[in-house]
């Protein structure tokens, strides 16, 4: 089985800003893999290159053993994608939105089954504009799951959600992982990474600066007793993950 993701010597610059700077990363299939790092570390650029939405300046990108240049159409059928701050169409209902996304995929569950999975049955006929932030994120997740993907990309799925909505989303991600699928998740919440991820890469300035399990990274830093991933990051970069 090929790795879910293989990135080698990946580079991407926007003008003078180097977003990804010679990044190497391999993600085995069947894991929930976390990509961590502060804002501006290059997480979103990296994940969008993996999603085939951004073309790298140079480097190798293999997704499920295939490349975007040769197998884009086939790859699209096998991926589920949630982008940062997509606003779905306000005037459509939950069901209409899921059904639209379902129409793009050859295979996948019925729209109502996905709506049930993300626990939006009661909001089935509600318009998107009437949903809360957490409900919108769950709808976005439904749109990512509706093609029955082998690999799921989640770019900061819980940013801006209240604690209860975050935990609801974590449970959904757990369910998906237990079904044996691969997840690539970016976040800058340490507790989220510890709770969800089997394996982690910490990014800074466009490169991977550490790689390991949450427990392994914590044990390798400080006294290993009270340290958290937050401490790991501070130790590695000398900076805090978030400014707030």
């Amino acid at each position: 089985m090929p790795p879910a993701l293989r990135l080698a010597n990946l580079r991407k610059a926007y003008g003078d800003v180097i977003a990804v700077n010679g990044l190497n990363l391999e993600v085995p299939a069947g894991q929930c893999f976390g990509l961590l790092g502060p804002n501006g570390a290059g997480k979103t650029t990296t994940i969008e290159i993996c999603e085939g939405l951004t073309t790298p300046d140079s480097g190798v990108v293999e997704v499920l053993g295939r490349t975007w240049a040769r197998d884009a159409a086939a790859l699209r059928q096998r991926l589920g994608i949630q982008l940062q701050d997509t606003q779905l169409a306000d005037k459509l209902t939950v069901f209409e939105t899921v059904r639209l996304f379902r129409s793009f995929y050859h295979h996948g569950p019925a729209p109502d089954d996905v709506i049930a999975l993300v626990q939006l049955e009661e909001k089935r006929a509600a318009r998107v504009i009437e949903l809360s932030g957490g409900q919108k994120q769950r709808l976005a997740l439904a749109c990512a799951l509706v093609g029955d993907p082998e690999l799921l990309f989640l770019d900061e799925p819980t940013t801006g959600l209240d604690p209860q909505a975050r935990r609801q989303l974590w449970d959904l991600i757990d369910t998906f992982r237990k079904a044996g699928k691969t997840i690539l998740l970016t976040t800058h919440y340490m507790d989220e990474a510890e709770r969800l991820c089997d394996d982690l890469a910490i990014m800074d300035r466009g490169q991977v600066i550490a790689r390991g399990t949450p427990r392994g990274l914590i044990d390798a830093t400080g006294d290993g007793q009270t340290a958290t991933l937050e401490d790991v990051f501070v130790t590695l970069t000398g900076r805090h993950l978030r400014d707030d």
């Binding site: 699209r76 059928q77 701050d85 997509t86 779905l88 169409a89 005037k91 459509l92 129409s103 793009f104």
Partner: protein
Amino acid sequence: MTRLADHPLVQLTLVRVREFTREPEAVFWSLLFPVLITVGLGIAFQSRPPDVLKVATTSATLASSLRLEPGLDVVQLEPVAAARQLAIGGVVLLAEQSADGLVTYRYDDTNPESRTARMLADRAIQRGAGRADPVATTDMLVQEVGSRYVDFLVPGLVGLGVMTNTLWGLSFSIVDSRRRKLTKRLMATPMSRAHYLLSYLVWRLLVLVVEVGVPVAFGAWAFGVPVRGSLSALVVISVVASLSFSAQALLLASRARTIEAASGLVNLMSVPMWILSGVFFSAQRFPDAVQPFIAALPLTALNDALRAHMLQGASLAEVAPQLGVLAAWLVICFALALRLFRWR
């Protein structure tokens, strides 16, 4: 995935239709507005039917003769009442007959209506008394349906409606979807780009049925504006025009990230055509030097084709030059839009 309703093009088109019909203002502006303009301007510039002139008489004999004249509305009154009606302008002429048979016409000869009434009344009374006209005559009326202002106006408003609704509706929808990053999200699915762009064209074609049908039908019903060409020719002209303006809108919206940027471009494109393309008055009034430029504008082509079709019954072959102009805009704009379109 065998059901037609689950085809991505159907689902994407449904999105367009739903976003449109769930925005009541959009429906109002695109459908009701042309009807309201037609009513307003149609009434303002209505050609009046020939006036029937009110005359009075005191004699039953004269009254029966006068009533044979369709141009006169005759009342028979007592002398005092008749004189009073003449004095207050209730009638424009009073015809009296004395005991010896002499007929007297009382009227104001500075009033053209009174003078006309005098001639019509005299003719009716003379004929009633047995006069035969030595020369046979017949009337042919030149006040023709198709040459009135409202006949000119309705095709122009139809054309204007198609242009305005297509340019604004389509570019707003595209830019809004891009601004929300919804376009980018859709590009992350297996959705085909062709289906995405086609859904906009199909949506406009669906709306077109109402957009053209309502004002044309209303013009015919309310003002008798003719539709002399064939229905199939009208469909072809409308469809080519809709696709052409859709392609222009795709081009105008191909790069813009904000509604403001897109509306600037749409205005730049549409305002000159509001003025130059012969919507409210004939484009022939502009100097000869600019006529070739005006003729190359898509709205001029559409308006000319609609007027030739509706008013003169032109066939598709006769409006081929206008269809050619619209098709040229369609091909050039669509090719450019495909190259320039920003998918994220």
